[in-house]
Symmetry: C2
Subunit: 768 residues, 2 copies
């Protein structure tokens, strides 16, 4: 596909001119969603060119039978996949006798816009059909944030050079397949197709998981803006429902079809209520009308942007990039439902199963925590809390005992989905991220009560895991953790990964610290949790024996912690000396060669320095950054942001900016030639962190104090962001010369800027 | 299935009484073959019970599209599978109107025998059909060693309690599928079905590989032993050819059908010659007649046993076990065709792809070398020599340069078939076995000329691989080999596996030693090889820099070489302390738990001690045996034999015998509950080694001297074996009190017994 075809614009993603080569990429980039449902920017009308159709409903998945080369004990049988859901957007259109298909038309003035400020998608163009009819089309679509089971389409056709007949056949199609189905199975069963006048509904059920989903549509028509009733013909097929309406049009006239769609599912309704609920949704939507829905959408997004926006002066592409990231994160997860999470592709594609990864805890929580109400981040924590039993089962399958938990690498419902032994069984550092997420949340929100009520049980189960997973090395006279894969997945089955060992020891220490505090302050909760988990002081002492005597590989000569045992046996040659033709190494090299090389996929030791920066001196940070960053190939979308933040932290702004650029327009500029498969959602939170934590230097450690260390890339005039800090809205403006803090709350805010305490009175602006 | 149902017998495998539960196991155990083709012991007549049908032709394979969970660069696209070939043994039989099917009959006096001395399979029984007819059946079958494209069946039915009609429908069925097809594909295309009178032929072709195979049959009948002509009806279906013959029988009469079958393939003929060649084969077989074919079979096996037999006095089960192993090895590989090799299941099943593993070099060559003409072992070496180009391509795919070769882990045609990165890319010690095979062959046969003519090119390419695969560790100031899997596959992606490093250094040293000798003695060959490989002294010196400074992990306290870096970080708990319920660990534990445990699947450091025993002191051998054997779970069929031999070598006969017992009746007693899938052919060579090299203590190191150190298990009275030593037949008899050597050749033989030289004159017996 063509790179860089997106027109720079501060608030919109714009495609100018039609190129069939860009269709699949644009379907990803122009995706729309509301956290509960979403869809790729597929065309409403027929399109015979290359396209990747996708509509998704949050929390609705299918356990696809896993595909494996060589089975290993402990592998899960199923890979839970985000399900491609019934299509409600489709409208077959005929102009006189000719099917309208952009792939067969001459097209001019094609413009596609994703308006991020207002939350809608539009297309406009003129098309000449093979039979000569010229039409002008304007289509606008939204997935409502306010009415989160509803979407709406306004689709206008103007007859430019003819009078005749235009036939619209809006339809529901439940015969949808997943592109990534392992065995080409169809995942749905169609239960009922209900017809009506201008409205209809299909009730379908996912096989195996038995989720019931009703998909409804409602249509209305206008000629030159005036509502009209049109006779309807109905066609019911095995898996679809199609209505056909023919309208006579005179040259110069415009016909508009409004189509309202809705998904409702058994996640939120009883099965028998679904058809009625969906029908009511589309009826209400039609009664409100497209204009009202659009206005409510504009209002809802204005509310979101109030606390989420980042403004960059002097760099339109950077501005567009960061807003695209923030927009997609909000489209993917709104935070109102603890059963949902942030899939790596959100609602923009199927890849990676659409499930939950440790990305949520390590990368996404900071974004949602700082731009939304605390309840949003809490819902993300509760998601894991609610899956604790499954994590304990998962650990038991691998031989762990006594309520130890291992959270899955990839999951939809708490069960492990992944099946590569070196990841599934060995990339166990993810378990530490679960506890870090709690720690981070409590520091930022000061909602310590989450720990006695929920978090402590998770922390105990994870501490138990680490205690059992470590073993005493008689040779080292310390505890070791053997056979792991760190965040750098270019090393497998290694011993004593610094990051994993460090996180393991920290998890135990933090758990024990919290246990003491809960014992003191929340006696009843303490008793409840101790009874539920059968935890004893003797067991806690065994944990501490492990955490207090954990081995960390260290090189005395360089004074750096080593990524793992034996790291210095490798040939250490910086990435800069690798020929371009050999990169990315994950495409050019065989796996064994990658494994025995010194090259690092994403931050590993440095991930530890990032998470626990407050425990290392600046000297140490610099030394480790200088040793590891030159060996890092950044072949994960999660890599550059961490390095950007660390570089800013050690005052290396050019390096910080270089890494920031890599992350911020990853999808818009399609660096990895894969945006047609969907967007990289979770790394978008890393982009946000690169600005707020990186350039802005925002930190909240366990003293609960809000810190900033503002810096600005040479390329920018200024930037500003907003955070929701414990209910107070704080706007931060940073330019080359000054730094302003606007406290939009009703109470005074204290914070540290460059280690100096300042106080910002209620509703006041302070310049530093 | 029932274990231990095989009746002990010195020369035969016998099943007494019919049990449907044993059918699939017996189909494996009673398999017959002649090195060129073979088949499971499927019934000739219909059988509606559980059965696993299998007929195989050496060298005919199909590249089945590989199945993989997560693709890694460098994986092969295809897994070459041994092909289930058209069935020529089948005969549908009707007694009056009733189909004869053992699964629906009352059966008595059922006896199945595999006569290993004479090389035939038989069944006899009485059966009562559901409709009341009683018959007596006697069936005998052989795959001819002398006429190696031919098989023959004699099938007799006696009408015990009725007069009526018996209908025989002998058929050829080319609609055969592989049970282990990855995507349930059919691997054959049927090209032509040729009918005739009492004979017929199907020409078929393998898809993708395009091997052409003609399968022919010819039938004749006799009543009460007198030849009769019977009218024939013909049915040609899409993939099969069936003739039907009805014979009237009076009570007490016996009808015999003789069916002759043949495979001929494009390995040995032009495609257009195949039908005629197959037809000629079955016509000639019929002219010879079953009795003559049987006599030639008895003669051929007598010839094989002359040099291959091992006689054990005082233990019938041990006697049966060792003969079964020797018999199956001969059925699998006769050594006359350098395009064939020894599949892990031989002609007894489909599993593991029927391809070539390092088992051939490490386990099988000693057996074939000592029991057959030197040309047989040489053919096994030439198999690899002929695949050198593919091994160089394989290494190039993984980034190696300059003609370095990596032989595949699993192959049919020289291309790698396996697709697990930790095996395919990392279990590289196999490359060393290729050179060891040459070394072993040259020592035993003194055919040094093989090296200048063929072996040297292989050795150079492999030395190049080791040179490139090692890297200099600045930390250790020695060369290291990172990221490997040793013979103990319960460790993956480890660093500095002692066995691999040792073998790598030795490969280089031996290659350089041979280069010098070739330069001196075979100047022309030397020039040719140097020119062909572009080898320079400078490159050789770089190799020696690596081999001379190779790092071997060693524990100073225990004075043992360590299996790999970090081995002593593990919890070292002997297998004897593992609860029985946790074993075999490969069924009870998840893969990560196995990996981080100290448990060893098969000899690893000890594999090195076994191959290079002459380079270690007895003290060293004992120390390593005492450290590693207690940690070994022997969960590979290749494990016990090596430990048995080493135990004998350090005078631990009870341990040696314990390990011997594990290997010798592995299939007959179905230790692993999997014999229904086929027999473990390559480990059978290990059983032979356990006696000859283990108890008998036979060794030939690079001084070319033949050594024995005879010992005998307490459980045996005596044992004797024969070896073909450089064309001389030497019979060795060992009892508790004495040891006899019979030199059946025309020249004197010198050898060492317990380090004392003795001389055995031509055709003389010497007692020691």
């Amino acid at each position: 596909m063509n790179k860089n075809y997106i027109i720079p614009n501060e608030w919109s993603i714009i495609e100018d001119g039609f190129d069939a080569e860009n269709v699949e990429a644009s379907e990803s980039l122009f995706s729309i969603g509301n956290g509960s449902m979403g869809q790729r920017a597929n065309f409403e009308e027929d399109y015979s060119g290359k396209t990747f159709q996708g509509s998704y409903i949050g929390g609705i998945y299918y356990p696809d039978k896993t595909r494996v080369g060589w089975w290993k004990n402990g592998y899960p049988e199923y890979f839970a996949k985000v399900l491609n859901a019934p299509n409600w957007i489709g409208i077959h259109i005929k102009i006189n006798e000719t099917t309208f298909d952009l792939n067969t038309c001459k097209i001019s003035n094609f413009k596609r816009e994703l308006n991020m400020k207002e939350g809608w998608l539009s297309r406009s163009f003129q098309a000449t059909l093979p039979t000569g009819e010229e039409i002008e089309v304007f289509a606008k679509r939204l997935i409502s944030v306010k009415y989160n089971e509803v979407g709406a389409i306004e689709y206008q056709i103007k007859a430019l050079n003819f009078s005749g007949e235009i036939t619209f056949s809006p339809y529901l199609d439940a015969g949808i397949e997943n592109e990534d189905a392992n065995y080409d199975e169809f995942f749905w069963e169609i239960l009922n197709i209900v017809e009506g006048t201008n409205n209809g509904c299909i009730l379908s059920k996912t096989l195996k998981t038995g989720f019931h989903v009703a998909t409804a549509m409602e249509v209305e028509f206008a000629i030159n803006g005036k509502s009209v009733e049109v006779p309807q013909e109905t066609e019911i097929a095995e898996k679809s429902l199609t209505y056909t309406y023919s309208l006579t049009v005179a040259e110069g006239e415009t016909i508009t079809i409004y189509k309202y769609g809705s998904y409702v599912s058994s996640l939120n309704y009883k099965n028998e209520e679904l058809i009625a609920a969906a029908a009511l949704n589309v009826k209400s939507a039609k009664e409100l009308g497209f204009k009202t829905l659009l206005q409510s959408q504009i209002d809802a997004w204005a509310e979101i942007w109030k606390t989420a926006d980042i403004v960059i002066e002097g760099d339109v592409k950077a501005q567009q990039g960061i807003r695209f990231n923030i927009f997609q994160l909000n489209q993917t997860y709104m935070g109102t439902d603890a059963r949902l999470n942030i899939g790596p592709k959100g609602f923009t594609g199927e890849k990676y199963g659409g499930s939950t990864y440790w990305d949520t805890e390590a990368y996404c929580i900071p974004f949602y925590m700082a731009t939304k109400d605390a309840s949003v981040a809490k819902n993300l924590l509760l998601y894991r809390y609610n899956q604790l039993d499954k994590a304990i089962e998962n650990a038991a399958k691998l031989g762990f005992k006594n309520g130890a938990a291992l959270y899955p690498m990839v999951t939809m419902n708490g069960e492990e989905c992944h099946n590569e032994w070196e990841i599934t069984f060995e990339e166990i550092h993810r378990n530490g991220a679960m506890v870090y997420g709690i720690y981070n949340y409590v520091n930022f929100t000061q909602d310590f009560e989450y720990i006695p009520k929920n978090g402590l049980e998770v922390m105990i189960a994870i501490s138990r895991f680490w205690h059992q997973r470590a073993n005493y090395s008689a040779a080292k006279e310390q505890y070791v953790i053997l056979g792991v894969t760190g965040p750098n997945e270019y090393e497998n089955n290694i011993n004593n990964n610094f990051y994993t060992n460090y996180l393991a020891a920290w998890c135990i220490e933090y758990t024990v610290e919290c246990l003491a505090k809960v014992r003191d302050l929340y006696g009843a909760d303490f008793e409840r949790v101790m009874a539920k988990t059968n935890l004893t002081d003797a067991e806690i002492n065994k944990w501490l024996e492990v955490s207090g005597n954990m081995y960390f590989p260290f090189d005395e000569e360089r004074k750096v912690f080593l990524q793992q045992d034996g790291f210095l046996d490798k040939e250490i040659i910086p990435v800069s000396q690798l020929p371009k033709s050999e990169r990315p190494i994950n495409q050019k090299w065989s796996w064994d060669r990658i494994l025995r090389s010194c090259y690092i996929k994403q931050a590993d030791v440095l991930q530890g320095m990032f998470l626990f920066e407050n425990r290392f001196s600046k000297d140490e940070l610099e030394r480790h950054f200088d040793f590891y960053e030159p060996l890092t190939v950044h072949e994960s979308s999660l890599s550059p942001c961490v390095h950007s933040i660390l570089a800013a932290s050690i005052d290396r702004m050019p390096k910080a900016y270089e890494q920031y650029v890599r992350t911020s327009r990853l999808d818009l500029d399609d660096y990895n030639h894969e945006v047609h498969e969907g967007c990289h959602i979770t790394s978008m939170a890393g982009t946000w962190m690169s600005i707020v934590q990186g350039f802005g230097g925002m930190r909240v450690w366990d003293d609960g104090v809000l810190n900033f260390k503002p810096q600005i890339p040479a390329e920018w005039k200024s930037y500003s962001f907003t955070i929701n800090f414990r209910g107070s809205i704080l706007k931060v403006y940073i330019s080359k010369n000054e730094c302003k803090f606007m406290n939009e709350s009703d109470s005074e805010l204290k914070l540290f800027v460059n280690n100096k305490e300042i106080s910002i009175p209620s509703n006041q602006l302070v310049t530093v």
